[in-house]
């Protein structure tokens, strides 16, 4: 029973990371209809920036987080302006192009930083554990959970309480009409993509003390994050949060009860079945046409 609770806690902290990655993916998909297969590489880049900040400047990830967000958001902005925005009416081609970008980013890191694993330390402020009953909770993991909830709240506020959010929602509803009212859809899209990418970067940085940093670390994560987006449905932040918790916990349980491979297969089958039978989780709400 204790083992189960501890596992559940570990699952919750993974779910928090998934939530941040999934939020970025869901926002990009929900607003532009772009399935961003380079999202995992944004996560990976975030992790590498965190590693570089620690290795070369001695900054802990807590100090680096704002900068990492900005850097990866900028990378996302470049990708959007350079590639994605040319492909808006060609969803299949966007998949291919972002896949290509993922490969290029991975290969760049492999060539210039090296294929070997890198390690980043837990911030000294968050070392140690909090023990409640039999559950040992590392302070860092607790921080990740709280941070993810804060990101969720901030995103919600951004979407519903700011001028930017209003513009974005207008563009999603009808791009042409929004442009007639002076909203520059291109700019809104670029900012949205950048925000999603920035979140991925932050998630990557938060991951560094938990897993080793490698050029291909994003690939696995993005599959799970994609599952989160499918389950949660687009346009629902709460849905994404619930789905992230579900996937995180399920994966934790699976890896305890079965082996990892079977867990992966289960995730993949879940994706296939959900797309096939619950496609409405994927599309914006159906309206009469």
């Amino acid at each position: 029973m204790d083992a189960l609770l501890n596992q559940a806690f570990a699952g919750l902290s993974m779910a928090s990371i998934l939530l941040i990655v999934g939020l970025g993916l869901a926002i990009i998909y929900g607003s532009m209809g772009v399935i961003n297969l380079a999202h995992g590489e944004f996560v990976m880049l975030g992790a590498y920036v965190a590693w570089a900040m620690q290795t070369f400047l001695g900054f802990s990830i807590l100090t680096s987080l704002p900068l990492i967000f900005v850097v990866i958001a900028f990378v996302g902005w470049l990708v959007e302006r350079g590639v994605v925005h040319r492909l808006y009416r060609r969803p299949l081609d966007t998949i291919l192009a972002t896949w290509g970008i993922g490969i290029v980013l991975q290969q760049l890191v492999r060539m210039f930083i090296g294929p070997e694993s890198r390690f980043v330390a837990t911030p000294s402020l968050l070392e140690g554990n909090t023990v409640i009953g039999a559950v040992v909770m590392s302070n860092y993991r607790l921080f990740v959970i709280v941070f993810a909830l804060a990101v969720l709240a901030a995103t919600w506020a951004l979407m519903t309480r700011t001028e930017f959010g209003t513009r974005l929602r207008a563009v999603i509803q009808n791009r042409e009409i929004s442009e007639c009212y002076g909203i520059r859809a291109e700019k809104v899209y670029a900012m949205t993509f950048a925000y999603g990418a920035g979140l991925a970067g932050v998630a990557g940085a938060l991951l560094t003390p938990l897993v080793s940093t490698t050029p291909s670390m994003g690939t696995y994560l993005v599959v799970d994050a994609f599952l989160v987006v499918i389950i949660g449905g687009v346009g629902s932040l709460i849905g994404t949060a619930v789905a992230a918790a579900a996937v995180g916990e399920a994966t934790a349980l699976f890896s305890m009860l079965m082996n990892d491979t079977l867990g992966r297969i289960a995730v993949l089958l879940a994706i296939i079945l959900l797309i096939r039978f619950r496609p409405n989780g994927l599309f914006p709400q159906t309206i009469r046409r």
Binding site: V83, R86, D93, L96, I103, M111, I265, I271
Partner: protein, 361 residues
């Protein structure tokens, strides 16, 4: 039907002549070079199989490598059994190491050459057919076809790696016997083997072109544009889509069998994400709308890889990725679109825009 038909047919003849006469001559009938080129031809075949579903019907199968892999394992199982006749129980060596008691039932039929050849075509077709019926009866289209096929392939690859006792796991199937056809033991470094592979490619292309030129091809192109409109004319869209997936898978399986012969082993990397992406890249470079050009794309990219990857060991993947992105953005119709535009300019006809995207459903 339309104007491009004539060119397609001329292109096909030219391609066949080059492959059958030009290439062996240029390579100086050198066994090693011929073997390398035979490998490119097998890859050209799987690229052409992808173009069949992607270019014609707009159904992007990101799991094309799965059916290719099944074909290659089928052939490898036959050759492995042939190489294991002296082992206890006629079992492949790796089964002995992992304490498998006796040859599993699903290995048994592959003693027979006929069963193997049929299975190499029909098994991939059946698997793809089930997937296709599952998706297309539910009217899954566009990017979701891509995601489902990709997820399926990754799951399949995981199974092949995990079930090491039966599949050789990460190592795949190695130590294979040469293929014995009635009256001919295949030497993979010979001219006749090259002609076997080249002949298969040319027949497969002809088969594909016949389908594309028939009304099925026309209906598939209509489906790419507006599947629901096609339904109101009485066509059962799902069965057309399923058919093209099956055909594409059978050809991919066929290519996989040849690939195992060329490389003399089968490996789970044949059904990996990166291999599947490579197939997509070849198609995109050559031109997804034309079967011949997709094949040409595969040959050109692999030729370039063969020459360049020695020079830029690390950077090859980077170059390939960049080239791919540039093609998707600026030349979505690939070299085929470029060729069409050039022909039109020479004829002074209204220009075909090579940079215009291919319509998606």
């Amino acid at each position: 039907m339309n104007r491009t038909n004539k060119y397609d047919f001329l292109g096909y003849i030219a391609f066949a002549v080059i492959i059958l006469l030009g290439v062996p001559f240029l390579l100086g009938f050198d066994g090693f070079e011929l073997n390398t080129f035979a490998r490119y031809l097998a890859l050209a075949m799987v690229a052409m199989a992808l173009a069949l579903s992607w270019g014609t019907a707009g159904l992007l199968n990101l799991g094309q490598a799965a059916t290719f892999g099944i074909g290659s394992y089928v052939m490898a199982m036959h050759l492995k059994l042939a190489a294991s006749t002296n082992n206890p129980g006629g079992m492949p060596d790796f089964m002995g190491w992992t304490n498998v008691e006796s040859l599993p039932w699903f290995w048994q039929p592959f003693h027979s050459l006929t069963v193997t050849l049929l299975a190499g075509l029909l098994l991939p077709a059946a698997v793809a057919g089930l997937m296709a019926a599952f998706m297309f009866r539910g009217r899954i289209t566009g990017v979701f076809v891509a995601i489902i096929t990709l997820a399926f392939m990754v799951a399949l690859q995981l199974v092949f790696i995990e079930e090491q006792r039966f599949t050789g796991g990460q190592n795949g199937l190695t130590g294979l016997a040469p293929l014995s056809l009635p009256g001919w033991t295949v030497d993979t470094y010979s001219l006749s083997f090259y002609y076997l592979v080249a002949g298969c490619l040319i027949v497969a292309l002809l088969l594909g072109m016949l389908v594309v030129r028939s009304k099925v091809g026309l209906v598939l192109r209509a489906i790419r544009e507006d599947a629901s409109r096609v339904r109101y004319f009485g066509y059962d869209v799902a069965s057309y889509e399923t058919f093209v997936f099956c055909l594409s898978a059978a050809i991919a399986g066929w290519a996989g069998m040849l690939y195992t012969l060329v490389l003399e082993f089968a490996s789970p990397t044949y059904m990996s994400v990166s291999f599947s992406l490579a197939i997509v890249i070849w198609c995109a470079v050559g031109g997804r709308e034309s079967l011949v050009w997709a094949a040409v794309g595969a040959i050109l990219v692999n030729l370039a890889e063969g020459r360049l990857s020695d020079v830029f060991v690390e950077g090859w993947l980077l170059i390939l990725g960049l080239v791919f992105i540039l093609f998707v953005i600026f030349l979505p119709r690939g070299l085929y679109g470029l060729a069409l535009a050039m022909v039109d300019r020479l004829r002074g006809a209204p220009r075909t825009d090579a940079t215009l995207p291919v319509k998606e459903g």
